[in-house]
Symmetry: C2
Subunit: 264 residues, 2 copies
C-alpha cells in the first residue's frame, strides 16, 4: 500500500476527446470514472463536434486540414464559446456535484499556457497557437490545494489574442511542464480500447508501443492518420520526463494494462 505522500506525488492527466464529452451518457461515465482517480489530477477536454455544429447553425463553414481546424475570426469566437464556455463549464459543474473542486481554465487564465500564432506555411490555420510554455509551477500550486484543473483547448499569445490549440497538445504540454513536480501519467482517452492492430477488431489492442516498434508499426501502415500526432505527442512527453503514457477508453482508465502503454 502506498503512503499518502507517495500518492500525492503521482499526477494523472486525462485528455478526453470530443465524442466522449459531447454525449451525455459517455460524459457521465467518464466523469464518474475520473472522480474515482486518487491523488492530483487534471482533465483536458475537446469539443470539436459541438463547435462544428454551432458554426453550422451560424452559417460558418468548418474547414479541416490534416485533422486540424482552420480558425478564422468567426471560428475563433465559436471555439472560445464552445470550449471555454459551454463544454468547460458543464464539466466543471458536473465535477463539483461529484465533490471535486474543479476549476475551468484556458491557457489565458493566469497566463497558464502561452503560445504564438502558427506561421503561415502551405496552410494558413488562422488563429491557431503553438505552445511556448505551460506554467507547471502555478498548476502545481493549484494541485497542492486539491484543486482539479479542467482545461479547455485554448491558449493566448500574451498580447490579448486567444488562440485555438489542439487538446492532445495541451495535455502533452501540461504533462511535460509538471514532470519536474510529479510522477506524471498521461492518459489519452478515446472511443477505442487502445491502439488497434486491426482497426475493425476491437480485441486487437497493441499492449505496448516503444520508439522502435512505433517506427515499424508506421512502416506497416498499422498506425496512420490521426494516431500519428497522438503518438508523436506521447513520445515527446516521455522524452521530456513524463513517466507513462496510456491510450485507452472510458471504463478502463483505472486499468492501464487493458489499453496501450507507450514507452521509450
Amino acid at each position: 500500500m502506498r503512503t499518502f505522500a507517495e500518492m500525492d506525488k503521482k499526477l494523472t492527466v486525462i485528455k478526453v476527446g470530443g465524442k466522449i464529452v459531447e454525449e451525455k451518457e459517455s460524459l457521465n461515465a467518464l466523469l464518474q470514472e475520473f472522480a474515482t482517480i486518487k491523488g492530483p489530477k487534471i482533465l483536458v477536454h475537446g469539443g470539436g463536434r459541438t463547435a462544428t455544429a454551432l458554426a453550422s447553425q451560424l452559417g460558418i463553414e468548418t474547414k479541416m486540414v490534416n485533422g486540424r481546424r482552420i480558425t478564422d475570426a468567426d471560428m475563433l469566437k465559436v471555439v472560445t464559446m464552445v470550449y471555454g464556455g459551454l463544454v468547460n463549464k458543464q464539466i466543471v459543474a458536473h465535477l463539483n456535484a461529484l465533490g471535486i473542486c474543479a476549476l475551468g481554465l484556458t491557457g489565458a487564465d493566469m497566463d497558464i499556457i502561452r503560445s504564438h500564432r502558427r506561421e503561415k506555411g502551405e496552410v494558413d490555420y488562422g488563429f491557431v497557437g503553438d505552445v511556448d510554455y505551460a506554467n507547471g509551477g502555478l498548476l502545481s500550486l493549484l494541485l497542492q490545494q486539491h484543486i482539479v484543473p479542467v482545461m479547455a483547448p485554448l491558449t493566448h499569445d500574451g498580447s490579448g489574442q486567444i488562440l485555438n490549440t489542439n487538446a492532445d497538445t495541451i495535455a502533452a504540454e501540461v504533462s511535460k511542464a509538471l514532470a519536474s513536480f510529479y510522477e506524471v501519467t498521461l492518459v489519452y482517452c478515446f472511443e477505442k480500447k487502445g491502439v488497434l492492430r486491426h482497426p475493425d477488431d476491437d480485441d486487437s489492442v497493441i499492449p505496448h508501443i516503444t520508439a522502435s516498434s512505433y517506427a515499424r508499426l508506421k512502416d506497416e501502415g498499422v498506425i496512420q492518420d490521426g494516431m500519428i500526432p497522438k503518438l508523436d505527442n506521447s513520445f515527446a512527453a516521455l522524452q521530456a520526463g513524463v513517466s507513462k503514457v496510456v491510450i485507452t477508453r472510458v471504463g478502463q482508465i483505472g486499468n492501464p494494462q487493458l489499453g496501450t502503454t507507450i514507452e521509450l
Copy 2:
C-alpha cells in the same frame, strides 16, 4: 500615504455592464483603468447584448421580464457560451496582456457561488439562480496570491446545473462574502456619470444617496426601473458590512467623488 499592509486590506469589486464590455473601445478604456487600481480587486461582467445577438442568430427568442432574462434550456446554453466563454475569456486574455494575473470564474468553478433555481412565481424565469452563498474564504486565498478574479454572471446549484444569475447580484454577493476579510468598495460601473436627478442632464449627478434620501427619491420618481434593484443590492451590501458602494462610469472609477456614493 497608506502602508502596503493597509493597502492590501482594501478590496475593490468592479461590476461592469454589458454595453461597456461589448464595445471594443469602451472595454479597452475600462480594462486600462481597471489595471491601474491598486491592491486586490475583482471584476464582475455582464454580456447580455451579445447573448441576445447570438440567440437571435440561432433563432432563439429573447424574453425579458422586469429587466431579467427568461432562461430556458436553449438560452442557458447561449449565456453559458457568451458569459462563461466569449466575454470572460476575452477580458481575461486582455488583462493578462496588461500584466494582471486574471482568472476567469463562474460560480461553478471551485463551487465559488452556489445558488438555487428560482421558484416559479407569477413568472417562470427558467434556469435562473438566486444566490445561497459566495465562498469568501476561497476568493480571499486567490486575492492573497495576487490573482484577479474575473467573474461571469453564472452560478450552479451544486447538483451539476448551471444557472443564470444577474451580474449586479454577483457583485453584491461577492462583496458581502469578502467584507469580513477586507474593507470592500463595490463599484457599479455603467454608461452614466452616476445616478442622475434628471435623466437627460448628465451633470445632475446625485453625489450621495442614503437610506432616507433613497426612499424620498423613489417617491419622487427620480429613481425608478432598473436603478431600483441596483440600489437595493447596494443597501443590502452596505448592511452586510461592505464599506462603500459607488455608482459611476468608466474614466472616473479612481475618483469616486465624481459619481454617486451610496451610504447607510
